[in-house]
Structure formats: structure tokens, C-alpha cells
């Protein structure tokens, strides 16, 4: 039974030291299955917010529900478990483990979490990696090192890794800002398609408003957070 809300933060306060909160979210709701554009200029606490949503950080007060689970009441390793098995994450750049091949990078979540391995479409993890790489139109050798790939190719490998094993939530932190404008559109298109196929909720964080019209919902961080940088 899927909860209706993928993310629900209420009065969540976080600061690296207690007296100086860097983030205070009064209310943030992301509905399940939506594609949400989270807008915030750099330094507005985006990464901190994503840290709370992924359970890497814990709010000092308030509530933080992700995929129907109250993060503030979970142990650190339970949050690690939830993040690894239910959330796909894409960084702005340098998403890949430099000493692993394309194949090994993409397959990583399946090797760490049984739940991701169980959800694959193809009969084996290797086949699933192959399928996703083809799906993302990457004509590269699977057993190549990732350092030789172009930035665009690396970002698409990152999508494959985020989406393998159908996580419920995909978070992308400025994934297009290292790409040029033409590629941004193509990248977004692919990301939408695979999230659709995996039935994953997508939270897309960017400071670039030119992309926001393509999303179901737009949220400005400055409107939900009371602390401004």
C-alpha cells in the first residue's frame, strides 16, 4: 500500500549547531508519483534539505516523513537501509565510483540491497544493467572504466544507477547544471521516461528556472523555509 505522500516535512529544524539553524521547513509535501521541481538559489539550504529527506541528516525538531516512514524515529542504520533500498540519488556531477566500471557502478544498488535486486525487470542483474544502459541510449562498453566517459554519459550512467531496482523516490540535485542547454532537455526527457516506467516520485532540485515548466509541481525553497541564507 503506497502512502499518498512521498515526502512530508513539518516544522523540521536543522542546524549544524543547535543555536544557529540553517534550515527551518514549516511544511513541505510531495505527493506520490509526482514530478516536483524544487527551486532554490545556491546557498539556500537545498543540500541540507536533501540530507534530511534522505535521512543522512536528522532534524533537531519537527517531523520528517519519507515514503510513509517517520525518519526522526528511525535508527541511523534503518535510515541508511531505507535510503539505499527506496531512494535513487543523482548528484550534480561526479556521480560514479571512479574505480568501478560502468556495469559495476550501475549494479551497485542491487548488490547492496536485496530489495533493489528483487525489483529488476530483466532475469539477472547483468541483463538489467544492459537493458537500462540501452534504454538510456548509452553506446558504451559496460566494462569500461567510468573516467573515460563524457560528462553527459556519466550523468546518464548515474540515472541508470538511481533507477535500477525501481526505487520509490528519485532525487536529483542539479543534475543538469554540468550539461549544456541542448543536452539538458534530452537528459530531462530520459529522466522523466525512466521515472515514469519505474513509477517513482521525482524530486528535481535546481536553481535554473528555465526547466521548471516541465514539472507537475513547482516549490520554491524560500517559500517553505523560514531561514534564509
Amino acid at each position: 500500500m503506497e502512502p499518498a505522500e512521498a515526502i512530508h516535512l513539518q516544522n523540521a529544524v536543522f542546524g549544524y549547531d543547535r543555536r544557529n539553524p540553517v534550515l527551518h521547513v514549516e511544511e513541505l509535501v510531495v505527493k506520490t508519483g509526482k514530478r516536483v521541481f524544487l527551486y532554490g538559489p545556491s546557498g539556500s539550504g537545498k543540500t541540507t534539505l536533501l540530507g534530511l529527506i534522505t535521512g543522512i541528516l536528522q532534524p533537531q525538531s519537527g517531523s520528517c516523513q519519507v515514503l510513509g516512514k517517520e525518519m526522526t524515529r528511525m535508527s541511523m542504520s534503518a535510515r541508511d537501509q531505507l535510503r539505499g533500498s527506496e531512494i535513487g540519488y543523482i548528484f550534480q556531477s561526479l556521480n560514479l565510483i571512479p574505480y568501478l566500471t560502468v556495469q559495476q557502478n550501475v549494479a551497485l544498488p542491487c548488490h547492496i540491497h536485496a530489495r533493489r535486486r528483487k525489483n529488476i525487470v530483466a532475469p539477472t542483474v547483468d541483463k538489467e544493467v544492459e537493458r537500462l544502459i540501452n534504454r538510456l541510449e548509452l553506446d558504451t562498453h559496460l566494462d569500461r572504466g567510468v573516467k573515460k566517459l563524457s560528462t553527459g554519459q556519466q550523468q546518464r550512467v548515474a540515472i541508470a544507477r538511481a533507477i535500477i531496482g525501481k526505487p520509490s523516490l528519485v532525487i536529483a540535485d542539479e543534475p543538469t547544471s554540468s550539461l549544456d542547454t541542448d543536452r539538458q532537455q534530452a537528459f530531462l526527457e530520459l529522466l522523466f521516461e525512466v521515472c515514469e516506467e519505474a513509477k517513482a516520485t521525482l524530486v528535481f532540485v535546481s536553481h535554473d528556472k528555465s526547466l521548471m515548466t516541465r514539472f507537475d509541481e513547482q516549490i520554491a525553497l524560500s517559500e517553505v523555509s523560514r531561514v534564509s541564507a
Binding site: 543540500t47 541528516l57 539505499g84 548528484f91 565510483i97 574505480y99
Partner: protein, 415 residues
């Protein structure tokens, strides 16, 4: 999973990982090499002579007596009279004796005059007896038997005539008047026995007929004119002895050491060898300390390499965290890397030490006459390996704790 990551991470830094493993392997090679060569020499020396209860020679140091009588290292200063030898050879407590007379050489190899007892009773490495590979025991005055190394290095064969030199290597005085005939070649024993030429006691006397003053006689008598009946043995250098009972050994040793007619020294070979090892143990300790220091340097090199790589790896840690790896798994990853490096280094080092030991064994034995036995893994080697891997793992805690903290504090910010 984490282990695979650790392997691949190390592999991606082949150069630094390789250098670190190499430096640890090198120090292990030194540590184990010193230990194994020490042990190998001990086993080799101990294996050279067995079943001999006492070695008897003229009054003097016990170590020199052992070294020249058995290992052909150094020279005898004095001799003992043949009458004394006869006295103890027929002693009721004595099972057998082997007389040894030395002083001559042939192209760098010692010439040992002895009698049939040598071929009959000499034992090495437990119960191995001497065997002839070719020919027969010497019977005539000018018969000689070669140790296997002598025969192999000089390409000698049975029937060959050889000329012995008076004294040791490089002597100008040659016993040219009396050529010897090779009548037999001993089988290989991997002991100093292989590096000597054996003649009869009478042969030794014949060679020195007229040499009573240490110089060649003005008119030498050709060998063909010397007959056994003209000769009598007057002195020998030392003799080996086996008693009928173990308890008899100590009594006999005391009796020999206090023998009135002639000042003698009787030693128990195993005990004297112990003295030798205690003399050498200071050198052993010094070498071990130096090798230990090299190991510490190797481990510090590893620590430096892992610690410097930490900053570049903050991004990697962040990625692994988003993939759901716990902070303690990140910790494990870093610990595994240092453990793998030190374990690989230790294993390669030990393997290299044994390879080196295997390779130098034969040359060392041939060139220096030091018997070096191939010995197995000892407790000390196991301790070294445990110490190296343990220290490597412990040092790995330093970068691992840093990585653990980064994993918690940096969160998604890294890189």
C-alpha cells in the same frame, strides 16, 4: 561486497598500492629471511653430524675444535698422539671412534685422513650413513675418495691422479712426489662432507715422510717406493666418538678432559653448537631490529598513502552513503584496504623469503661451506605475519575513523 570494493579501490591505485605492498613485502622478506637463514644454518649445522657423542682434540677452545673437526672451518693448532687415540678407541665405554687428521688441501678443498670407521660409522641428519656413488673405499696408501662437491666442481672421476698441497689454499708446497689416485666418490650429503677429499691415515703419513720439520725433504722418496709396513701413524688432529650409553658420555668426557698423559678437550657437539648460536644471537637480534624498523617504515608508507587519498575520496564516500552504505561499512572498507595491503605485503614477503632461501641454498653451501637447510614455517614467521597484518589493520583505523567521520559529517556535501 565491501571486500570487492576494497580490492577494486586498491587496484585502481595500482601504483601507490603496489609500492606500499612492495615496501611491506621487502621488510617481511628481511625479517623472515634473517630468521630462516638463522634457523636454516642451525638445522644445517646440526644435521651435519649425528650420533657422535664426543669430539676429542688437543686442549683448546671447544668451538674451534667443533668447527675444524666437523665443518672444516679454521685449522687445528695441535695434534694428539696416536697412542692416546688408541687408548680411547679401545676404552670399554666407547662404541666406535673416527680418527681425523687434517692439514693438507687440494685446489681449495680440505684433505681429511681417516680410516674405515669413517665410512662405517659417520652419520648425518639422524641416521643417514655415507655411501659411495662410485668406486670403493680407499685401501692403498695413495688412494683417495672425493666428496660429491669436489668431484662435481673439479670434474674428477675414478682413476684420476691428483696432487695434494701442503697446508691450505694457495700453498706453494706441493706433494708432487706422491700423486694420489681417486678410487671412489661419495654420494651427495648436503653437508661439509661433500667438500673434502678423504685419504687413509697412512697415506697422510706417507705424504709427509721426511717432512718432520714442516718443509719438503731434500731428497724426496717417490711414492712407488713407500710401503705400508714402513709407515706408522704418530699423530691425528682429532677424533669423533660414540659411547655405548648416554650416561657414559658425561663420565667419559670428564675422564678425557682430565687425562693425565696428554692435555685433551672433549666436547659434546650439540652443546658446543648452542654456544655458537648464542654468540651469533647478538647479530641475529641486531638484524631483526633493523628489519623490524623497515617494517614500521613500510606500514607508515601505507598510512601516508591511505591518509592522503582520503580527501580525494570524500566524494566516493558521499556516493556510497547515498547508496545506503552505513557509516560503519565505510569504516570497514577503509580498514579492509589497510588489512589487504599489509596481508598481501606479508604473504609476498614470506614467499619471497622462501624463494630466496631456496635459490641461495646451493651457492652458499658450495661457496662458503655453510650448510643451509630448507626449513618450514616457524612460530616466529607466523608471529611476524600476525604482527605485520595486525599493525597494518590497527594503523588502518586512523584513515578509517576519518572516513567514518566524513561519512557522517559531510553527508551529501562532499566533493
Amino acid at each position: 561486497m565491501i571486500l570487492q570494493l576494497a580490492f577494486r579501490s586498491l587496484w585502481s591505485r595500482k601504483f601507490t598500492s603496489g609500492l606500499t605492498i612492495f615496501s611491506i613485502a621487502l621488510s617481511m622478506l628481511l625479517l623472515v629471511g634473517v630468521d630462516r637463514i638463522r634457523k636454516g644454518t642451525q638445522v644445517g649445522f646440526e644435521g651435519t653430524l649425528s650420533q657422535t657423542d664426543l669430539i676429542v682434540g688437543p686442549r683448546g677452545g671447544s668451538l674451534p675444535l667443533l668447527l675444524y673437526a666437523v665443518f672444516h672451518i679454521g685449522t687445528a693448532n695441535n695434534n694428539i698422539s696416536y697412542a692416546t687415540y688408541q687408548h680411547f678407541a679401545h676404552h670399554p665405554a666407547v662404541l666406535w671412534t673416527i680418527p681425523i687428521s687434517m692439514g693438507d688441501s687440494h685446489r681449495g678443498f680440505r684433505v681429511v685422513a681417516t680410516d674405515d670407521n669413517f665410512y662405517e660409522h659417520y652419520r648425518y641428519r639422524g641416521d643417514h650413513a655415507l655411501e659411495l656413488a662410485q668406486g670403493a673405499r680407499p685401501e692403498g696408501i695413495f688412494d683417495a675418495v672425493l666428496g660429491s662437491t669436489v668431484a662435481a666442481q673439479l670434474h674428477y672421476h675414478v682413476g684420476q691422479k691428483i696432487i695434494l698441497s701442503h697446508g691450505l689454499e694457495g700453498s706453494f708446497l706441493k706433494h708432487t712426489a706422491d700423486p694420489y689416485t681417486v678410487v671412489g666418490i661419495l654420494k651427495h650429503t648436503a653437508t661439509p662432507v661433500d667438500r673434502a677429499i678423504y685419504v687413509t691415515l697412512l697415506g697422510d703419513e706417507a705424504m709427509h715422510l721426511g717432512w718432520e720439520h714442516g718443509a719438503p725433504p731434500l731428497t724426496s722418496i717417490p711414492g712407488s717406493q713407500i710401503h705400508a709396513s714402513d709407515l706408522h701413524v704418530s699423530e691425528i688432529s682429532a677424533f669423533l666418538l660414540r659411547t655405548k650409553s648416554r650416561i657414559g658420555t658425561l663420565f667419559l668426557q670428564r675422564e678425557i678432559n682430565t687425562y693425565k698423559p696428554e692435555p685433551l678437550t672433549a666436547i659434546i657437539p650439540a652443546l658446543t653448537l648452542e654456544d655458537l648460536w648464542s654468540v651469533l644471537s647478538a647479530a641475529d637480534v641486531a638484524l631483526t631490529l633493523v628489519s623490524g624498523a623497515v617494517l614500521v617504515v613500510g606500514l607508515l608508507v601505507m598510512l601516508t598513502a591511505l591518509y592522503t587519498a582520503l580527501n580525494e575520496r570524500r566524494r566516493e564516500i558521499a556516493i556510497l552513503r547515498t547508496l545506503g552504505l552505513h557509516a560503519r561499512q565505510i569504516f570497514t572498507l577503509f580498514i579492509l584496504e589497510s588489512t589487504l595491503i599489509s596481508a598481501l605485503g606479508a604473504i609476498i614477503g614470506v614467499a619471497a623469503a622462501y624463494a630466496v632461501l631456496f635459490l641461495v641454498r646451493v651457492p652458499v653451501e658450495n661457496n662458503y661451506g655453510i650448510p643451509l637447510a630448507m626449513v618450514g614455517i616457524s612460530a616466529r614467521v607466523v608471529y611476524y605475519v600476525i604482527a605485520a597484518v595486525g599493525a597494518g589493520t590497527l594503523l588502518g583505523f586512523i584513515p578509517a575513523i576519518r572516513a567514518y567521520r566524513n561519512a557522517l559529517v559531510d553527508g551529501l556535501n562532499a566533493g
